[in-house]
Amino acid sequence: MTPTHHHPAAVVDGAPVWPHEIDARLARMRAADGGDRLPDPSSAEGRQLRRWTTQVVVLERLFEAAAAGLPPGVAGPAIRQVVPDGVAAVELGSMTTAALTRSEAGRRVYAHVASAYPGGHAKRRAFLDWLAPRLHRVELGPGYEHPADPRQPDAEHRH
């Protein structure tokens, strides 16, 4: 299942995310500090990184679309308020955590969705419940499956 550049990596509510956009994001990551630690693009781990990055981009698009419906003028909380520690990062998962780090829109959505809930744990749970069906509607192209989807050939080498 080799991804081609003529097929979208993902389609988010009808809007395509093209492979070249993922390429560009990966190039920026490789050029940044610590970029030399990223896996070789031709390896299974490299393909997994591509899938991981696609998920992050997909999440950012979802957040932008959702934030468009929010009242303007209210800035989102800082990332440390949303993900204060490792337990929070574990609960949210690394891709959601990475997307929230980059996306102020995402943090605004988080604050809005979680506003009715007390405590970090309940807030995160509510946010994930909000996110899950929206993620489920995203179409992922071949080679761009969720990294942990056991049906794709580069999934963790054991279940």
Partner: protein
């Protein structure tokens, strides 16, 4: 319109209402009706019905809307209420694999900002434990398990504030600790004794220190299991086990597919037995076992479900599949994957589901509840299974072969060292308890299924190598010190050599004396024949007593040397061997003097090196080093002439040395026949190896007519099936190589002896692996249990299957194949028996009218059906022993490994003899259908994670390749043994043991007071039991106690031949269990065949442990430098600095209060720490050092230590044997680390003995007798919380 008959029930337990789902009906109130079926209510598309029909009945239904028929029809399949799905949250943890110990334990989460771009959708141990504890704190329905001590102890020590929470969760049954072992070891690649230590350390921490009650062995991901494993777990007090690999390939019978990744899991209809069964060892003991039919992650993937409803539906669908093989109405669903956080839906399913359905129950549960429910099921009698749970991942037996050789050498040296140190302790020497404890712990750590299996990345390989080297070095020092202590006490009557025998029977064998210029003499003063080598002399030491020694006087003199002679043939009183210079120097004749025959297949050669090209990764599964991947291209050394052939003689024996090349290998092979030794000793040196994705085997075509493969495993011997070494794994993925312990061969472990009543003629049929077919599942335990145990005792493992069920013997699904069947019950009670008799000539049915036992040969010879497409499920594919009555007589008849059947026979049958190869740390092997023995020597893998490096800069071997390619000089040692009779007649267990436990010699002035000859412990009768451990009784360092003086010695031993034996040790003894709890006095140890027993004896003493000096310094966070185990081993106390610089001293002692001196910054404090308690010392400080007298010192530093590099002053060293070279180790910049830097020299095991680091300099001093070769060395520096590796230096010895 669609009508689905579900297995869901609404209503109540007393009045369950089965749900029929009707979709696509016209609008209105939908009901269904049929004969005896009425609708109780409808909600949405669910119609709840009441019926009086029994489960399984099929009833036609019509669909009505608003009371009127729609014309729509369907069918109700009446389901069974009363099922429960036990959803058990867990996470699978590997302390090392492709990533490092540091990353997996805590550092994987240490990023500069949340969500940095690393592949961390899994989390490290610390954050996982915290997350699962938090889930339990927030959610009263969350229950979960924790297992591996490799993260449990670091977490327990680093976060003592969570100990109360953990204990509270244990008390309230919210948390269960499982495993009972320290990690998940691949016991089939180590000694059984090491597995015993694994459970000693595991239960010691989980029970004694944590206060938990581990009852379930948790071996989720282990690549196959050793047959004696369940019995040993029972002996340690565990009562159950659960795991995911063994009887089937890859990920189990529901997920192994060829060619299609998109298919969902299939039904488990290839399973021959229920998922819950009694797993029994050859010893006859075992545990109730739950096999994870759909892998250990079966219940995890619904985490990605978008809604609660979808998650519930996913669990329900898995339930429908798993229930098909459940033994009771309880299904175990593991909800976790590798390093997985708490599952998002599991407790919401637990709460929501009962609001809609009364059955099945979906409950967040624990293994103890699951197993209790299974056991409480009325009439539950688990199906007995002794099936060999191998082979899984055959590459694991060969990858990183140097680590397997190193592990074997280290674990046996540690066993012997412990034994001699115990005897020295009885003579008053301080017992090095903590030193041996470090060695055992490093071995336990290395036994993990991603360590010893060779599946690790390059950096992890180096880290693990350091652990094996440390174990070997520590054990060697203890070993040599103990022998010296005893030898110095011996009265040798002057300068003498004392030869020690580590085995529990008298031995005659060669021994090396590392003292040049001397010769041993006999009682008459006549010098014995001996052979000189640079640095020492070798001679044949006769009659060295059991676990004892014999002393020979020494006189000055030069021994003889090897002398070149003409010819290509060598001989001793047992064998004649010749080699063919035109065929690579391979062996072209092996003659057995005792048997009066040549053993080689006509026209074939033996000891040929064969290079197999391999795929980079498994073509379908895309996996590398754990699969053997030959692609069909083969090249053998016999295809070209040898470079040279040299014959040499000496007073001790004769040898041949041949050289040559084949593919990427340049080899030197030596074959030696020693006078007085019944063995053909073989050594293969690879002077050069630069293979890439290639496997090297050596093979011996020594067919035994009718013979079957026989393998020694841990503390037992079993039969196995033939392998397919030459296949192209793209077409036929399973080579059926298997791991052996010290030997494997061809012959028989048990046989059917058919006697013709009219002629008296007897023929023998070897059997090794059985498919025992009972009429129905309810018959399995009552009919088969005793038979299975009796068969396993004599080496025949078996699967109990049922007549109407799947047949054992389909290679596409089963990990191994049977070679015969036993049909229990005559044709009127067992449909399988009837089917066999229907298909066989009628003559066999007639035979059955007159006798109980009939042997129905297969329709074709085994070699015709035993093919890589292996389907042996046909009723006539394998021989069948029909047992129509007299089952208890058959069980009794198994005891001598010969099952007698009286009936006419004309078959040729078995040649009653055996050929076998002994190995030193080379476990991978197989026997093919032609009877050729194949021994895998090494392989080079480039498949992931070969070449992976975690903390740059990456290091490689001097030629720039990864370490998994093994490009350096290697030495492999193995030996051929042959003889009439079976493996017991040939005493193979003792000979394999002796091949791996050499006699040792110590030269002294002989001025002591002990007798010149003595046995320190004897097993009577000799050879009736093999001793695997002699140690002071008890395991204080494993159980949170301070070692004290001991007045008894523990001896662990096992019966090696599968026959009952009464054994004494010459002293009063008590029988205890594997954990050395309170014992019961026994005058005689009555061992059943293959039984493993632990006893305590009073040998004098007391044995006093050596205290730990303050200078034994452990890093509290030793995992940060991937050290495996802290320098001090058990770490009974620890100290940690938090981010504020406050120090907390923690205790893992269960009864002792300790006083620690704590140096924190510029100040020193004294704190008292109660048992299992903690005490704080306020900072702030960047470094802390805590010392407890007698228990050593522990240090910790805050993060943010300066980075440094390690460099060596050259990259190429050439040194002659007997010479010296040095390397300066430069640490740059000169660091200001609070506790300095620990430097470890790393290189292949061949160089360990002659490379050390002294005061920052690497000293390379190969002894004069070191063979030339090329290796490598690098230095690992541990300090400041990160590991640093120097560049690699090429080492060439000339």
């Amino acid at each position: 319109m669609n009508v689905e008959s579900t297995e869901l029930f609404a209503g109540t337990e007393d009045d369950p209402l089965q749900i029929v789902r009707v979709t696509g009906a016209p609008p209105g109130e939908v009901t269904v009706r049929g004969p005896g079926v009425a609708t109780a209510f409808t909600r949405g598309d669910e119609v709840a019905v009441r019926t009086s029909h029994p489960a399984g009945a099929r009833v036609p239904l019509e669909v009505l809307v608003n009371g009127a028929p729609t014309g729509g029809t369907g069918e109700l399949v009446v389901a069974e209420p009363g099922w429960t799905v036990h959803m058990i949250p867990h996470f699978h943890y590997d302390p090392v694999w492709w990533n490092t110990q540091a990353a997996y334990t805590s550092e994987w989460d240490r990023t500069d900002e949340p969500g940095s771009p690393r592949l961390d959708f899994q989390r490290a141990g610390f954050d996982l434990v915290r997350a699962h504890l938090a889930a339990a704190e927030h959610d009263p329905d969350y229950r979960f398990v924790l297992a591996e001590v490799d993260y449990l102890k670091p977490y327990w020590d680093t976060f003592p504030e969570d100990r109360a929470t953990i204990r509270d969760l244990l008390r309230r049954d919210r948390l269960e600790i499982v495993g009972g072992t320290w990690n998940e070891p691949n016991g089939n690649l180590t000694s059984a004794e090491l597995t015993a230590r694994n459970v000693v350390y595991g239960t010691g921490f989980q029970r004694d220190i944590m206060g938990a009650d581990p009852a379930t062995a948790w071996q989720l991901d282990v690549f196959g299991h050793d047959p004696q494993f369940p019995g040993m777990m029972a002996d340690a007090g565990l009562t159950s086990s659960s795991w995911a690999r063994g009887p089937f390939h890859q990920w189990g019978p529901m997920l192994t597919r060829i060619g299609s990744w998109d298919d969902p899991p299939t039904d488990p209809d290839g399973m021959q037995f229920p998922s819950e069964f009694e797993w029994l060892s050859p010893s006859g003991r075992g545990v109730l076992t739950a096999y994870m039919t759909n892998h250990y992650s079966a219940g995890w993937w619904m985490d990605y479900a978008p809604t609660l409803e979808a998650a519930c539906d996913a669990v329900y669908r898995i339930f429908l599949q798993l229930k098909q093989v459940a033994a009771t109405k309880h299904v175990l669903l593991p909800v976790g994957a590798d390093y997985s956080p708490p599952n998002r839906w599991v407790t919401r399913i637990h709460r929501d589901w009962p609001t809609r359905y009364v059955w099945p129950r979906l409950q967040c549960s624990l293994p103890k509840d699951f197993f209790a429910a299974v056991r409480a099921t009325p009439g539950f009698s688990p199906s007995p299974q002794t099936r060999d749970m191998n082979p899984v991942y055959t590459g694991k037996d060969v990858s990183y072969i140097d680590t397997k050789q190193a592990h074997r050498a280290a674990e046996l040296l540690t066993q012997d060292a412990e034994q001699w140190a115990t005897f020295a302790g009885l003579l008053g020497a301080p017992y090095p308890e903590t030193v041996l404890d470090v060695a055992w712990r490093q071995l336990v750590y290395g036994a993990h299924h991603d360590a010893i299996t060779g599946t690790e990345s390059d950096q992890v390989y180096l880290d693990l190598l350091a652990g094996w080297r440390e174990a070997h070095t520590l054990a060697g020092a203890v070993h040599d010190g103990a022998l010296q202590h005893i030898a110095d006490r011996v009265d040798g009557g002057g300068r003498s050599v004392t030869v020690f025998n580590p085995s529990a029977w008298p031995r005659t064998d060669l021994v090396d004396v590392a003292t040049p210029g001397v010769r041993p003499v006999d009682d008459g003063g006549v010098p014995l024949p001996c052979l000189s080598y640079p640095g020492g002399v070798r001679f044949l030491a006769r009659d060295v007593p059991s676990l004892g020694y014999r002393t020979w006087r020494l006189v000055p003199g030069d021994a003889d040397r090897w002398t070149a002679a003409a010819g290509t043939e060598i001989a001793n009183e047992h064998h004649v061997v010749s080699v063919d210079p035109d065929r690579g120097g391979a062996i072209d004749r092996i003659h057995s003097v005792a048997e009066g025959r040549d053993l080689l297949a006509p026209g074939r050669v033996a000891n040929e090196l064969v290079v197999y090209d391999e795929y980079v990764e498994q073509p379908v599964f895309k996996e590398g080093p754990w699969h053997l991947l030959p692609n069909g291209r083969v090249a053998g050394s016999a295809a070209a002439p040898a470079g040279s052939v040299l014959r040499e003689t000496s007073p001790l024996g004769e040898r041949l040395t041949v050289t040559g090349t084949v593919g990427p290998a340049a080899y030197t092979q030596q074959i030696t026949l020693w006078h007085g030794v019944d063995r053909v000793d073989c050594t293969t040196h690879l002077d050069r190896w630069d293979g890439t994705d290639q496997l090297l085997r050596v093979r011996f075509p020594l067919p035994v007519g009718g013979g079957r493969p026989v393998y020694e495993v841990g503390d037992a011997v079993i039969g196995r099936g033939f392998g397919f070494p030459d296949v192209d794994t793209a077409e036929h993925p399973w080579t059926l190589d298997n791991p052996a312990y010290t030997w494997f061969g061809a012959g028989s472990t048990a046989r059917i002896r058919v006697t013709d009543p009219s002629t008296g003629r007897r023929t023998l049929h070897a059997v090794g692996v059985a498919d025992v077919v009972v009429p129905a599942l309810d018959d399995a335990a009552p009919l088969a249990r005793d038979l299975l145990i009796a068969l396993a005792r004599v080496g025949v493992t078996a699967t109990t299957s049922v007549a109407a069920g799947a047949r054992y013997g389909l290679l596409a699904v089963d990990s191994n194949l049977p070679d015969f069947r036993i049909a229990v019950g005559g044709p009127s009670s067992n449909p399988f028996t009837a089917a066999v008799l229907d298909a066989a000539p009628s003559y066999f049915r007639e035979l059955l009218t007159g006798q109980h036992l009939v042997w129905v040969p297969a329709a074709r010879p085994l070699r015709e059906v035993w093919t890589p497409t292996g389907d042996l499920t046909g009723v006539r594919d394998l021989p069948v022993l029909i047992v129509a009555g007299g089952l208890s007589d058959l069980v009794a008849d198994c005891a001598d490994a010969v099952i007698d059947v009286v009936q006419p026979t004309t078959d040729a049958g078995l040649e009653d003899r055996t050929v076998a190869l002994l190995n030193r740390g080379i476990p991978g092997c197989c026997v093919d259908v032609d009877g050729t023995l194949h021994l895998s020597l090494l392989r080079s893998c480039t498949g992931w994670p070969s070449g992976v490096w975690i903390d740059p800069p990456r290091r490689t071997t001097p030629d720039g390749t990864g370490f998994q390619l093994q490009h350096w000089t290697h030495t492999f040692e193995y030996a051929l043994v042959t003889g009439a009779g079976d493996w017991r007649d040939n005493d193979l267990v003792r000979r394999g043991h002796a091949f791996n436990h050499p006699l040792r010699a110590v030269t002294t002035d002989g001025a002591g007071d002990l007798p010149a000859v003595a046995s320190l412990l004897s097993v009577e009768p000799p050879g009736a039991a093999v001793v695997t451990a002699v140690k002071p009784t008890g395991n204080p360092l494993a159980t949170g106690r301070i070692p004290g003086p001991r007045s008894t010695v523990t001896v662990r031993l096992y019966e090696p031949n599968g026959r009952a034996a009464d054994v004494t040790l010459g002293r009063p003894m008590s029988r205890t269990d594997l954990l050395e709890g309170p014992g019961v006095p026994v005058p005689v140890l009555r061992l059943r065949g293959a039984e493993i027993a632990t006893v305590t004896v009073d040998l004098g003493g007391p044995i006093v442990p050596a205290p730990v000096g303050d200078d034994v310094v452990s890093d509290a966070r030793s995992w940060l430098t991937n050290r495996g185990v802290p320098a001090g081993g058990a770490l009974p106390f620890s100290v940690h600095l938090d981010d504020a610089g406050t120090a907390t001293v923690t205790s893992d002692l269960v009864e002792d209060t300790i006083t620690a001196t704590v140096a924190l910054g510029e100040t020193t404090h004294t704190v008292t720490v109660p048992p299992l308690g903690a005490a704080t010392v306020p900072g702030p400080a960047l470094a802390v050092r805590a010392t407890v007298p007698g228990l050593g010192t522990v240090t910790d530093v805050r993060t943010g230590q300066p980075a440094f590099e390690v460099d060596l002053d050259t990259d190429d060293i050439v040194v002659p044997a007997g010479g010296t070279a040095t390397l300066d180790v430069r640490v740059l910049p000169a660091t200001d680390l609070p506790f300095g830097v620990e430097l470890q020299p790393l290189g292949p095991p061949e160089i360990w003995a002659w490379t050390t680091i002294v005061a920052g300099t690497v000293v390379i001093r190969p002894p004069a007798h070191q063979r030339p070769g090329t290796w490598w060395l690098l230095v690992k520096a541990l300090g400041g919380g990160t590991p640093v590796y120097s560049p690699t230096v090429r080492i060439t010895v000339t």
